[in-house]
Structures are given as structure tokens and as C-alpha cells.
Amino acid sequence: MTNEILAQYANYALASAALVITVAMLCYALYLAQAVPVREAAEVRADAKVPATVGAGEAKGEDPPSSVVAAETPLKARKAAGIAGSLSWLGAALLLASFALRGFAVERFPLGNLFEFSVAGAFFAMAVYSVAGLRRDVRWLGVFVTAFVVLLLMVASTAWYVEADEVVPSLKSYWLPIHVTVATLSVGIFVVGAIVSALYLMSDRGVGSERFWRKLPEASALEKFSYSLHIIGFPLWTFTLIAGAIWAREAWGAYWNWDPKEVWTFVIWTVYAAYLHARATKNTSRRTANWIAIAGFACIVINYTVVNFYFIGQHSYAQ
């Protein structure tokens, strides 16, 4: 049934994607290394001792006018970022091609196991990043996103690889593409959101070199960017939860069984709901809120690894 040649092409596309994204990562690293701190021009050098960060959650800080973009960033660095940007699109396209070829190879929707989730999740993370780049300057973020994706693809194609094949009857439903695609898309968004939240927390603390953090947007801007990603991811995850429940009823007879996978989908949802609450609560600092967002992402990682491999439930086929 399965078309081995197509599956082979899917793997070639995946390997090319990994290679392309690795090169993109190196270019982004080069860009960041050479970039001139964005905010240097905007700030008086004399007060270099004062961390460039405005306290989280405090009154809206005086953001530097956005016109002071680092005009002095060397041409070489800008070129590197340009190349990296094109490679990111190419990498995303190759991941999509790999995904599609795999789908043709197995003659079903290719989101039936952890390996396939990872490829799709990597695609969505790259796509979310690239699309975000259409609306704002996110070159500073490239190295972090590509590094995560490269790591994910490495683990997926070694530890989690499974041969292309059909799925068990309970997975044969039009709910599979709906439920899992949206789940994976929101995971892609949460990946980028978690990276930005982590950068915010480190920038806010001034971890490591101060000069480095000045190459990135200001901490409060990072925080807002992270929020704007999370408020897209959260409704999508809510949809995932609802679609999963509808499907569970059709496949197993009850819309909610407290199956480990369901429990974790719910836990992730609740933690992100807590993040949105924390962010809206005046007395809770933005830092706390972002730690909760990171905790939410940790739950996603647990959901896709520990829960898939160690907890026995009706979802165990996802191995």
C-alpha cells in the first residue's frame, strides 16, 4: 500500500530542510553577532550603567521612537539576515513538501505519530516566524527559532522516526486533519511565543552581556510581542480541545474520558488561560505571567514526549 519511493523523497526533502535551516541559523547568528545594538543610538551613552530595560508591568514606558532603527548595522550583517530570511522560507517550503510527500506515501493525512507531528510542528514554527517577519523586523529572533527547529528535526528523524504506514481505524476520520493540524499550528505559535517570552525574561533580568540585549527590542516590546503570539495560539488550542472532544465522542463514545492525552491538552489549556489571567491582573507582574507561559510550553513538551511514550491511554498509537 505504501509507496516507498515517495516516502524516500519525503525523507530527502526533510534532510534538505534541515540543512537549509541550519545554514539559515548560521546566517542569523552572524547577523546577530555583527548587528549594532538597536537602541544604542536612542540612548545616552553616559547612563550605560542603567539597564536598558523598563520594569515589567509598569506604566507604559516611553518607547524609543521606532525611527531610530540601527542604520549602522554593517552591510555584511544585513546581507546575512537577508539570506537567512530567504532560506527560512525555503526551509519552511521543504518541510511542507516533506509533509505532503509523506501524506501521498501513506495515503492518509500524515499526522499519525510523533515523527509526523514533529515535522509538521517544525513547519508551522518556521511558517509562523516567516509570516511574522512580513509585518515586523524579527531578524533578531531568527537564530533562536531556527536553532529550536534544527534540534527538533534532529531528534525527530533519529529517535522518533517511524516507517510510513497506515493508521488504526480510530484515527480514520476527517477529524484527524482538523484536530491535529490546528493542534500543531498552535504548537508552532507557542514555540515562537515561548522563545520570545524566554528572551523577555532574560532581557528583563539582564542575564549576561548587556550589549547583547540591546541588539534586541526592548524588554517591554518583547513582552508585548510574546503576548500577541499567545493570543493567537490560545484560541487555536481552545479549538483543538473542542475538536478533540467531538472526535473522541465519535471514536470512543464519550467526549471526555480523562485519557492522559486529554488530561494534558486540558492542563496546557488551563496553564495558558492562567497566563492570560496573570497578564490581565494588575497586581501580578509581567514576569510572573511570562513564567506561566513558559510553564505552558513545558507542558506541551511533556505532552508530546513523556505522555506519548510512558502513559498508557487510548492515544498510545501516537508512538
Binding site: 500500500m1 505504501t2 507604559k60 517511524v162 516507517e163 504506514d165 497506515e166 488504526v168 481505524p169 480510530s170 480514520k172 476520520s173 477529524w175 508585548k224 503576548y227 500577541s228 493570543i231 490560545f234 484560541p235 481552545t238 479549538f239 473542542i242 472532544a245 467531538i246 472526535w247 465522542r249 465519535e250 471514536a251 470512543w252 463514545g253 464519550a254 467526549y255 471526555w256 474520558n257 480523562w258 485519557d259 492522559p260 488530561v263 494534558w264 486540558f266 492542563v267 488551563t270 496553564v271 488561560a273 492562567a274 489571567h277 496573570a278 490581565a280 491582573t281 494588575k282 497586581n283 501580578t284 506561566i292 507542558c299 505522555v307 502513559f311 498508557i312 491511554g313
Partner: protein, 522 residues
């Protein structure tokens, strides 16, 4: 948005009195911070249920776990680790959360209701101080420009009010709070829907071999689990006949990892509804049979060997397809044949059905493929009382407490029958014959009635819609101040928002442009 945690001043106030404490407690419970805390607690509280086997889902696994952990098991059991979602502490968390939620929704609804009917507030004196600001000049007189400003803002779907000659106030984005209230209210109705399902719903299981049928009544079901308020006589008595049960296993790629995995199950059924109308359908995984009073799900399947037992005179004592319960992926199945009509002594058989039989040197009789490639029935025989004290027992097992094992003709060992389809065997002591006539498949149905499911589903969808509204809509206020300066009117536009609103400066500028441009052309 009105119920944020108050400053802690009240905590240190000396005498509060009972009412004061109650009020204080209520305010604490309905504060955003408590909601946040309870949400996180709910998330943490749900986790153990995914780590430990849950009694309500898989009692056998729970017992096995308890048997393996003699010391920690009972302690964890006392803490509710095996019944997390019905444990007092988990219930306490979500009940508190929902009380808090209701305590939050009610006052906010009142506040929002008022806001919806009141005018936007008076414009501040100095608009240049606001987050977003733009100014310009137009020719014309004050009243005319004010009219134009009102029109521009209305067109942008702002609610507009004018508190004096020289200013216009506008606000939009009330949908944000409406969406938020819809979301939180829908969570409450969702839980009500779940509760209705638990209280007035029921679920039942029934095993039906091909060619057999069942009527939806409490007595016909193998198991029946009603909610506390279910009237058991009110079940809608529809009937379902399984014309044929089909299964497909992967036997096409002997080298693949998934060789032998199931591919498709389908029960072809003839349905007679309570009102007598009939139709045919097929029930599959992911394709349940939706009826008026219940839904029929295909959740299991297996083999039902057709067995005939005759007495010495050739009279049929037992005949029928007897379901055997699969124990592994290759359908090594266990079951029992109970010959209640035998006299003077009842007898029965227990044993294995193997769809593709193979005698493993170490494991003994096993099945190596889930389909019926070379079926065999391996059974031993017992005589005695089948249903001591009339105790109910599973159709798949034989209670041998009041029975005795039958030995083979030589008396050397327990009698072991090994039959392939079409074969029959002589029973010892002139008890007759048993024959294995063929194999049918059975369908394992789960039948459920959930009167709350519609409310639950619609609530979930309403929550999603409310959520999208509250997260995408921005609440904005825009003010316009106008000052006549000879032939021209000086226009000041200012905007403010409670939310992170990146587009606000742009919008304020656009409004200024529209106003200035529009008046110019007129």
C-alpha cells in the same frame, strides 16, 4: 474588569465582624488573583490522573498497580490518586473556581450593562497628553466641523457623544467585554451541560454476534450504568440487528511493522426505531449510530465460535455463537460455553479461541494473526452447578467454584479438547458430543444517552467565539477638540486604550486626515 484585587488595606482593619469577614472572603474568592491561583491549582491537580491508572477508566489496571505497590498503593488510594477526577480535593478546586467565576461574572455583567447604555465620557482638556495624538486645521465653522467629526467617527463604528460645543467623544470596542462575559458564562453553562449528562445520562454495553440482535432495555444489556436521576423504564426501546460484522486486518505487507494491525471494522445493522420505522446502516469506529434516545458506538469486536452440544440421544442442548473476549492484538480469546440444559448434571467449557492457532513450545497455544487463517478452539470441561446461588457472572467466564474438572477417557489428565471448524468430539461418560460448527464475529456496542451533550457543545462553541472576540477587539476612546480660530478650526484628535493597542496612533492620524481632508473639499 471591575473586580481586580483591592489593596490589602482591609486585611489589617481591626474588627470586621461576621458580615465583614464574609464580605472579605467573598471578595478574595472572586478576585482575579484567586482565579489565577485556582486555575494553576486545577492544572496541577489534573496531572496525577494521567500518571496513575484511574479506577473509573481501567479498574483492572488500577488493581494491578495496587498489587505491585503494597506500601505506597493504599496511601495513594486514600489520597484519591486513583479517582482523581471525583476526589474531594479536585472537586473542591473546580467548585471554588466556578463559584469564583459566577461571583465574577454577575457584577461585571451589571457594570458592562451600564457601560453599554451610557455615553462616552467628556473629552480631557489636553489631548496632546494622551497616548496617541494628531492635530490639524480646517476651514469652516465650529458646528460644521463638529458635525463632520461625528460623521467620521460614526463611520468607523464608534459610539459618539458631544458634551459641549467644541468637543466630540467616541468609544468603540464594547464587544471586547461582551466577548469576555460570553466566554466566562459559557464555561459555566458548559459545566452545567456536563453535570446534566452525568445526572440524567446512562451508558450500557452489549455484545452482539453476527445474525443476532438486541432491544434497548435495561435487562438486555450486559452492563448498565445509569446516572442518579435516570428513570430506567423510560428507555426508548429501539432494536438493532447485526446482519454482519466485518473486520479487515493488514495481511498485505508481511514485513511491515504494522502487519496484523486492524484496518477497518464495520457492523452492518438493521435498526427498528421505537415508533416501528426501520432502516439499515453501518456502524463503524468514528461513525456511530445516532438514535433519538441514545447513540450506539462500535467499541469492540471479536470472535464468537458457533458451538453445538448434543446429548447422547442427539438432542441439542446448546447451540449458538458464543462470544469470546480477545486478550491480545492477535485475538487470542477466552470464553465459556455454559450448557445449562444438561441433566442430571449441568456442565460447561472454558478455554481459548485462536483465530490463527499455533502451539508455541514455551507459551502453549497462541494466535499469531488476528484474522481466521486457521481457527481452533481449545477447551476443558467442568461439571457441577453453573450458577451457584444464582450469582450473576460474566458471559466470558465460568465460575468453577461448585464444579469439578472432567478428566479424559483414560483418566490420566484433565480433558483437553482441540477442535477446528467442522470437527466434533465425544464427551466422556456418555455426556454426548460437542461440535465446532464455524466462527462468527461479534460487535461490542456501547450505547449511551447524554441529554447534556447539546448544551455542552454549544457552550464550548460560544466560549470559543467569545474568546476570539475578547482577544481581537480593542477598546478605544477617541476625542476630538475643536477651536475656532478666525476662518479656520483647529482640530485636535487624541486616542487612548486600555489594551496593548499598536494601531491606535495610526487610527488617530487617519481620523485627523479624514476630518481635515473632508472639510477641505466641502
Amino acid at each position: 474588569m471591575a473586580t481586580r484585587t483591592r489593596p490589602e488595606r482591609e486585611v489589617t482593619q481591626p474588627r470586621l465582624g461576621v458580615v465583614g469577614y464574609l464580605r472579605w472572603g467573598w471578595r478574595q474568592l472572586t478576585s482575579m488573583r484567586t482565579a489565577l491561583f485556582l486555575l494553576l491549582l486545577l492544572a496541577i491537580g489534573a496531572v496525577p490522573g494521567s500518571v496513575f491508572p484511574q479506577r473509573s477508566i481501567d479498574p483492572a489496571q488500577t488493581d494491578a498497580w495496587l498489587a505491585r505497590h503494597e506500601t505506597t498503593g493504599p496511601w495513594l488510594d486514600r489520597l484519591g490518586a486513583f479517582d482523581v477526577y471525583s476526589s474531594p480535593w479536585f472537586s473542591a478546586i473546580y467548585l471554588l473556581l466556578f463559584i469564583s467565576l459566577i461571583g465574577c461574572i454577575l457584577p461585571r455583567t451589571a457594570v458592562h450593562w451600564k457601560a453599554l447604555r451610557s455615553k462616552p465620557p467628556r473629552a480631557p482638556k489636553r489631548l496632546a497628553r494622551l497616548e496617541a495624538h494628531a492635530d490639524g486645521e480646517v476651514e469652516g465653522d465650529l458646528a460644521q466641523v463638529r458635525e463632520a467629526a461625528t460623521a467620521v467617527l460614526r463611520k468607523r463604528r464608534f459610539r459618539v457623544a458631544s458634551h459641549d460645543e467644541g468637543s466630540v467623544s467616541a468609544e468603540r470596542g464594547y464587544g471586547k467585554e461582551t466577548g469576555n462575559l460570553v466566554f466566562h458564562t459559557a464555561l459555566v453553562t458548559l459545566i452545567i451541560g456536563v453535570a446534566v449528562g452525568h445526572l440524567w445520562g446512562w451508558k450500557a454495553d452489549v455484545v452482539v454476534p453476527s445474525g443476532d440482535s438486541f432491544v434497548s432495555t435495561v435487562t438486555r444489556y450486559d452492563t448498565f450504568a445509569p446516572g442518579p436521576f435516570v428513570d430506567e423504564s423510560s428507555l426508548s426501546p429501539f432494536a438493532v440487528e447485526v446482519e454482519e460484522m466485518t473486520a479487515d486486518f493488514n495481511d498485505r505487507e508481511p514485513t511491515a511493522q504494522t502487519f496484523g494491525q486492524p484496518r477497518d471494522f464495520e457492523a452492518h445493522v438493521n435498526v427498528t426505531e421505537a415508533d416501528g420505522s426501520t432502516f439499515t446502516d453501518s456502524v463503524k469506529v468514528n461513525h456511530p449510530l445516532e438514535m433519538d434516545g441514545a447513540t450506539v458506538f462500535l467499541l469492540g469486536n471479536g470472535y464468537a465460535p458457533v458451538v453445538t452440544v448434543k446429548d447422547d440421544d442427539g438432542k441439542v442442548l446448546y447451540q449458538g455463537a458464543t462470544p469470546f473476549l480477545a486478550q491480545d492484538g492477535n485475538y487470542r480469546s477466552t470464553g465459556a460455553v455454559k450448557v445449562g440444559a444438561a441433566s442430571p448434571e449441568q456442565f460447561g467449557f472454558v478455554g481459548l479461541f485462536l483465530p490463527t492457532a499455533y502451539i508455541d513450545p514455551e507459551l502453549g497455544p497462541v494466535s499469531v494473526f488476528p484474522d481466521t487463517k486457521s481457527p481452533a478452539l481449545a477447551m476443558s470441561m467442568y461439571t457441577g452447578e453453573l450458577f451457584p446461588d444464582g450469582r450473576p457472572q460474566s458471559v466470558f467466564t465460568l465460575d468453577t467454584a461448585s464444579m469439578e474438572a472432567v478428566n479424559n477417557a483414560e483418566g490420566t489428565d484433565q480433558l483437553r479438547l482441540w477442535l477446528t471448524p467442522g470437527e466434533s468430539a465425544e464427551l466422556p461418560d456418555g455426556k454426548g458430543t460437542i461440535s465446532f460448527d464455524g466462527v462468527e464475529r461479534f460487535a461490542g456496542f456501547s450505547v449511551r444517552h447524554d441529554p447534556g451533550k447539546g448544551l455542552t457543545l454549544w457552550s464550548a462553541l460560544a466560549a470559543l467565539a467569545g474568546l476570539i472576540a475578547t482577544l481581537t477587539i480593542k477598546r478605544r476612546r477617541v476625542f476630538v477638540r475643536l477651536v475656532q480660530d478666525g476662518d479656520v478650526v483647529r482640530v485636535d484628535v487624541g486616542g487612548m486604550s486600555k489594551d496593548d493597542d499598536e494601531r491606535l496612533p495610526e487610527i488617530v492620524r487617519e481620523i485627523r486626515d479624514e476630518l481635515v481632508g473632508q472639510s477641505r473639499t466641502s
